[in-house]
Symmetry: D4
Subunit: 249 residues, 8 copies
C-alpha cells in the first residue's frame, strides 16, 4: 500500500462505499513501513543535514565511484570511508570536486550545512593516526570543530596534561589508542565530558589486533568512557557529533 | 492509538471533518503495533495451539508459579523449563494438576491439541539425559511423537547403527552430546532428514563447558546438521516440532 | 564379501554343504558395509534426486574439473561450491554446458528433477551477498523455489517488516548476516517457520571473522533459530531443502 | 609542597631573600598536584553537584556503611552500587534516611540539585532488569528524568516500535540486553540520538557470561551506538547524564 | 534380527522356501550390529581381561554403588574414577571388599589377571598428585607395574635427572604437570619411549584451569610426547597400559 | 672438562698428586654433560638407527640443503619435513639421491635399517592427506610398515567399518582429521590399540584453523586416544613408531 | 652414587685396583645430581639467606602447619602465601611465634638477615590491596625496605604524580592493578627503574578475571615494564628483591 | 605559561605589584608540564646516556631514515628496531655510518658511552634467533656485555646445563623461546638472578602465534621469571640493561 492506495482507501471511507469498520480492518494490516520509512528518512535528512556515508572496504572502486556520484548529485555532503587511493581515482573521475584524505583513507564531497560544537580527537601514538584522522575528517564533514592532539601516550603523561584546557572545553573527546589502550581512562579522569574510546589494531604479539586495547577500554575505571569497535573512527565521530550538536542546539 | 481512536479518526473522515490528506498524515505515524501485535499474537495462538513457555531459571519459584497459574487458567498447555523441584512445589500449590519431569527439569500442564509427526531424540551418554529429556518433554507437549535413544556415543558406533531404521523414519532428529560432540555428524551421515545438534556442557578439562562440543557440531561434515546453543534442548525441540508439523500438514 | 560371494555362501547353505550354524558364524563378521553402503547410496540417490556436490576450495582447478565432468556424465545435477573463475574455466573446458554463478562462487550443471516448496534467503548487507547467493543457488539446484531479500539489516527494521508476507509464506528462511548477527532473531520473531542462521565473516575489528555473529545467533532469543558454520551457505540450503521438500511431500 | 610552603616561598621572593630565578627552579619541580587536585575536585563538585559514588561489591557492609555515612554528612547525594540487602542494613543503621532499591541493588541518599534532560532506559528481557534499574536509579540521582521501557526484545520487534515517539524524544538512550545483544542496533536505527549499549551477563551456554552480547554490540551496524562493560549500568547512566545535561545547559 | 531369526532365515534357505536372491536382499539390510557388537565385546573382554570402568563424577553415590556392585559380581576387576568418599561409602555397603584410594579419588575391586611391563608416573608438584595417582592406580589395576616419581618440576631439573635410569627402563612414561606444563618436554628429551602428557588444572591466574599447561604440552619440542585432556589421568594410564602390554606380549 | 681432562684428573689421583677428597670436590662440579651428552646421543643413535630429522619450514632452501647433505654424508637416513619443491631443488643439487614426496611435503634419503611392526594411517577427507602422508612417509623411513586408509570421514561410517580387520591388526593407528575431529573417537571405539589423533587445519569458519578438531580429539570419549599438535603428522608417526617397534622387539 | 661411593671409587683408582679408563667410564654415567643438587642448594641457602616459602592454597591447614613448623625449626625465615585464617590457626598452634598478615593472606616467621635496597609497591585501587600486600610482606621478609602507595589509579593521575620522588628513588617498583591494567605504563613513563606489573583479578564483566589487565600490561608502551601472572604478588616481590639486592651489593 | 611568563610573575611578586596570595592562586593552575617535561627529559637524557629508539615497523623507510638522521645528528646513539633491509637502505643514504644487523632486523648508530654489567641471552631454537638478536643488539648498544647462548631447548637439557657457570655470573638473563615456552622455568631454577622471558611467535598449530609460549612463561614455577610481550626482544633488553647497570653503579 503506497500513498496513492491509502488516499483511495480514505476516499472510499469519505464516499461511504466502505465502512469505518472495514477500513480499520484493512489498516490494521497496513504495510505502512514502505511509506513510513521513506518519509521518516526524508524528514531526518532534511532536519539534520547529515551527510551520506559509504563504507568502501567491501566494494570495488567502480561501485564506490558510482554510488558516490549519485549521492553527490543530490546536493548533500558525501563521505566514503576505508577508501584506497585506487578507489579515489575512480571517484575522482566521476566526481571531480571530491577530496581525498590519504591518512584517514577517506573521500569527502561538499561540507556541513552548519558547524556546531567542538570535539577533541586524541591519538596515543603516530600509528594511531589513520583511525584518529578518520574520526576527525568525519566529524568536520558532519559539522563539528575538531582539535587534533597527537602522540600523547600514557608513558609520557605530562604531554597529555599540557592539553588539559583544550580537553576541558570540548563537548566530547575521542581517544584513539592501541597497545594497552590506557589513554581513555587517564583522559576520562581529567575531564567531565563524554570520552569515546576507539581501540586501534596497532601493536604486536599479545595485542591480538586490538583486542587487548578493547578490553582495557571496556574495563576503564573512569565512568565517562564508552567504547566503539576496533579502528571504528567513523562511529566514534558519529556519536561525538550527536553529542556536540545537542549541546549547542 | 487503539481501535477506538482509529474508529474515531475514520468517522471524522466519513463525516468530512478532516480531509483524506490529513488522515493520511496521521496514519503514516500510526502506532499500529499495539493493535497489530496483539491481533497477530492472538491469531497465531489460535491457529497453532502451541503452548506457552516460561524460562524459570531467572525467576523466583513464586514468580514462576504465578505466571504458570495465570497461563494455565486460559486453557492452553504450559511449559516451564529449567525448573527446580523447589519451583515445582510453588507451581503445584497454585496449579495442582501440573506435572514435574525431574530429569528434564521441566513442569508441564495440559497437552498438545493434536499430535503430528515424529522425531527421535538421541543422547550420547547418560550425562546428556537432562538436555535430551528437556527436548523430549518439550516436543511431546508441542504435539510430536518422540522416540528416545540413549547412550549411543560414537565410541561404540554399533549401538547407533542398530537404530538406523528408527532414525530413517523420523521427520527430524535431535542429537544431544557433550565431550567431542561427534554424534550429530555420524547420525547426519546415516539419514536424509534434518539433524538438530545440541551441545551439552558435559565433560571436563578442555571441554570448556560445552564449547568443544559446540565447535565440533558447527564444523560437522554432514550438511544436514544445524546447531543450537549449549544445553538448549528446548530450542531444538521447538524447531524440530515446526519441521515435523509441516511435514504432516 | 560382495554380492557374488554372498550368493555363493547362500548357495552352499541351499545345497547343504555348510550348516546354517556355520553360515551364521560367517555372516556375523560380514563386511556388509561395502555392499550395503553402495546400495543405500544408490537407493537414496534414486529416491531423492539430490545433486552431487564438490567442495572446490581444497582442490586444484584440474581436479575439480575432472570430478565435475565424471559426475555430470552420469546425468545427475552437479554443484561445485567455493569455485574461483579460474576453476570455472577448467570445468567449462571439460563440461561446456556448466554455468558459473560469480557472486555465489558456484558452478552448476543440470537442474533439479522436481521443485517443491519455497524458501526465503535474506542478507543483512550487500557484503553478505556471496554467502546468501551460495545458499540460493544451492537450494534452486536442489529443487526449491527461492525468494531473495537483500539489504534488510536490523538498523533499518522497517525495510524488513515490509517483507512480512513473503517471510510468513516460506517453508523455511535462511538469514545471512555478519557484524552483530542480529537479523535471525528479529526474523524469528516475525514468523512461525524454521529460521536457519548463517553467520558471515563480514565485519572488522571485534567481529573476529564471523565469531561475533556466530555467538549472537547461537544466543538468539527466538526459539525457531538454528545455526550453521560461518559462511556455510551451502549447509543452510541443504537443511532448508530437506524441510521444504518434507512439507510438500 | 602545600599551600603554606608555597606562601613561604613567595614571601621569600617578595622579601628578596631568593631571586626569581631561584624560585622558578623550585617551582618547576613543584608537586602541585596535592594542592591542585583537591581544588579542582572541589570546584567540580560545587559546579556539577554530581553525587558521590561507592562501588560496594568489593567492600564489607561495615566499610560501605561508614564511607556512605561520612559522605552523606557533607550534604551531597550519595549512591552505593552493587549493594546487597545485608549492606543496606548496615548503611541504614548509620544513615537512617538512606533508600534501598532492591532490583537495582543500589542505595541512595539525597537527590539531585536540579534535573535536566531526559533519557530512556530499555531492557530486552525481565532478566536484564537489575542492570537497567542500576542505570535508571543512577541517572535519576544524577538529575535526569528517566523513562523505563521493559521487555522489548528483538524477537517481538513490534513492541519496540510502539515506543518510537518516546525514544525519539530522549536526549540519550540506554539499552540493556543479554543473549545476542541485538537490541541496541535496532534502537539505533530508529533514532537520531546517542545509544549507550550495556551487555548483560544474562543467558547460558555460548553467551559466555555476556561476552556474546558485548561482541554483538561492538559490531553494531548502527553508527550511533557506543558500548560499556558487561553489566555496567552505572557507567552507562553516567555518560548518558553528561549528554542530557549538556543538551539542556 | 537376532541369532534366532538369523538361523530361521538360513533354515528357510536350506529348505528352499526362499531363494538365495531373497535371502541376500534381507541380509543386505541386516541389523547385525546388535549381534555382532555383543559378541565382539565379549571376545575382547575374555581376551584382554581389562577391568570395567565407571566415571563416577556425573552419578549419584547410589547409582555408582549399584553399577559397581553388578560389575563386581561378574568377577572382573572394577574401577570407579572421580569418586568422593561419600560415593565410596555407598559402594562399600554393597561391595565390602572394594578399596578406596583417597588421593586418586578412585575405588577399585579385584586385581589384574596378569601384570606385564612397567611405566613411570611423574608429577611436577605435590598439587598434581591426585591426577598422577589416578593414573597410577588405574595402570596397576589394568596390570602394569608403576614407579611413582614425585615433585620433579622443571625449576629443579637436577631432581629429575637423578631418575634418568628409571625413566629409560619404562615402557611408557606418564607426566602430570600444571602451571607451564614444561615437564613432558624435558622428560621426552631424556628418553626414547612414548611420553603421555597430562595437563592438570593446577595453578592460578593465567593458567586458565589447565589450558596453559595443555597448550605447552601440545607444542612440545620433543617428538615422543602425546597429550590427553586436562586432569585425564585415567586416559593416560589406559594408553600407557596398551603400550606396555604390547611390548611384553 | 672433556674426556682428556678427566683422564688427566684420574691420573693425578692414581699418582697421588691430589687426594681423593680433592678429586671429589672437582668432580662434584663436573660439567660432564658435554661429555655425557655426546656419548649418550651416540649410543642411542647406534642402537636405534633412527633417522636424522630437519624441520624445513623455518629455514632457507640453502640452509636445509646444506644440513641435509652433511647428515646424509654420515650414512644415516635423513628426513626433511615441511619442505617446498623449491627446497627440494636445493637439496637435490647437493644430495642427488634424495627423494621428494610432494603430498607429504617431505624429503627423504636412505631407508630404515630394519622394519618392525605395522601401523595404519587414516585420513578423514582428501584435504587431510598432506598431514597423513607426512605421518606415513615418516613412519616408513623410521622402519614401520604403513597401511593408508583414506576418505573415511564419520559422515559415512560404513566406509570405516569395512576396514575393521586392518585396524585391529595394527600396532598403533594414526588418525588425521580436520573439521569436527570426530574420527579418532569412532576408531578408538573399534580397536584395542593406541590411537594417535592429529587435528588438521582443514575447514573454515569456526574450525579456527584446527582448534575445533583439536578440542574434539582432546575430549574423545574413547580412552585409547592421545593427541598431538595441529598438523603434526611427524610427531604422531614418531610415537607410533616407538610403540610398534617396542611391540616387536 | 653418593659422596661415600665416589670416595670409594677414587680410592680404588688411587690404589690402582681399577684403571683410570675404567673410572672414566663409570663417572661418565655418574648420577651426580643427587650429590650436586643438595650441595648447590645448601650453598645458595647459606649465601642468600632467603626464606623458605610455602604455597598454602593447595594444602590442608594441617599440612601447611607441619611443613611450616619443620622449616621454622631450622632457624631460617619462613613465608606461607595464600593462607586462610583457618590455616594460620593450625600454624600458630605448632609455631606460636608466627605472624599472620590478614590482608596479604600471608604467614611469616622470623625476619631477613639483612635489609638492602628499597622498592615501592603501588596499588591502583583498594581492591588490589591483597595482592599488593602479598608483594610487600614478601619483600620485607626477603630483606628489602618497602614503601606502599595505595589508591593511585590512572583516572586520577595527579595522585600518582605527587609520589614521583618516592618512585624515582626506588630500586624497583611493583604495580598491582586490575580492570584496564594501565597503571604500570604510566609509572614506567615516570621513572628509569624496572617496573614489575602484577595484573589482579579485580573487576567484573569483560575483565575476565584479570585477563584484560594482563593483556594491557603485556602491551605496555613503556619499555621498562615486565609482567608476572595474575595475582602473583609473591613472584613480583621475589624478582624485585633480586634487583634491589644486586643494586646494593 | 612558559619560563618567561613565570619569571614575569615572580618579578611582580618581588616588586610587590601582586601579593603572594594572588601569585599562589595563579600558580595553582600553572601549566608547568611543558616547562617541566622538557627539563626532566633533558636531565634524564644527560644522566643515563641511553640511546634514542625508533620502532620502524609502522613507518615508511623514508620516515625512519629522516628521524634516524636527525637523532644521529645530535650525537647520541640511535637504534631502529623491526627494520627491513629496504629501510636500512634509506637510512644508510642519509646516515652512511649506520650499521645493519640483519638477523636482529635492527639498525644502530654510535655506541654506548660506558659498558656496565653483563647479561646472557638464550634462545631455545634457531628460529628464535631474530628475537634473541634484537635483545642482544639492543643491550650492547645500551652498554651491557652480552653472552649469546643458542639452541638450548628443553628437549636436550644437558646442553643447557653445560652453560651453568655463564648463567650464574650474569646480572640478568633473557630467555627467548617459542613452542611450549618452557626454557625460562628451567633456567630460573638454575640461577639466582632475574630471568626475563620473551615468548616468540615460533611454532605452528596450537602455538597460536606465541600465545602458548606466553601462557607457559606466565605460569612459570620459578619465582624469578618475569615476562614481556611476544617477540619483544627490545623490551627485555631494556629492563635487563636497567638491572645490570644498577648492579654495577
Amino acid at each position: 500500500m503506497n500513498r496513492t492506495t491509502l488516499l483511495d482507501l480514505l476516499a472510499e471511507v469519505q464516499r461511504g462505499t466502505i465502512t469505518t469498520e472495514q477500513a480499520t480492518a484493512q489498516l490494521a494490516n497496513l504495510p505502512f513501513e514502505d511509506l513510513g520509512y521513506a518519509k521518516i528518512d526524508h524528514h531526518r535528512s532534511l532536519r539534520t543535514g547529515l551527510p551520506e556515508v559509504i563504507y568502501a572496504a567491501g566494494k570495488t572502486p567502480a561501485q564506490t565511484a558510482e554510488i558516490f556520484s549519485r549521492m553527490a548529485a543530490t546536493g548533500v555532503a558525501v563521505l566514503a570511508t576505508r577508501a584506497t587511493s585506487e578507489t579515489f581515482e575512480a571517484v575522482h573521475t566521476l566526481t571531480p570536486e571530491a577530496t581525498y584524505h590519504p591518512i584517514a583513507r577517506a573521500i569527502t564531497h561538499g561540507s556541513a550545512l552548519t558547524t556546531q560544537g567542538k570535539i577533541a580527537v586524541l591519538s596515543a601514538g603516530t600509528s594511531d593516526l589513520p583511525v584518529a584522522e578518520e574520526a576527525a575528517v568525519t566529524a568536520e564533514l558532519f559539522g563539528v570543530r575538531v582539535t587534533r592532539i597527537t602522540d600523547v601516550g600514557v608513558a609520557g603523561v605530562h604531554r597529555l596534561l599540557a592539553h588539559r584546557d583544550t580537553l576541558s572545553n570540548a563537548d566530547a573527546i575521542i581517544v584513539c589508542a592501541g597497545m594497552e589502550g590506557a589513554l581513555p581512562s587517564v583522559v576520562g579522569g581529567l575531564v567531565g565530558v563524554p570520552v569515546i574510546a576507539v581501540p586501534t589494531s596497532v601493536g604486536y604479539g599479545a595485542s591480538f589486533a586490538g583486542a587487548a586495547a578493547l578490553l582495557g577500554m571496556l574495563n576503564s575505571c573512569s565512568p565517562n568512557v564508552t567504547v566503539v569497535n576496533i579502528d571504528n573512527g567513523f562511529g566514534a565521530a558519529y556519536t561525538a557529533t550527536l553529542i556536540a550538536h545537542a549541546a549547542h542546539r
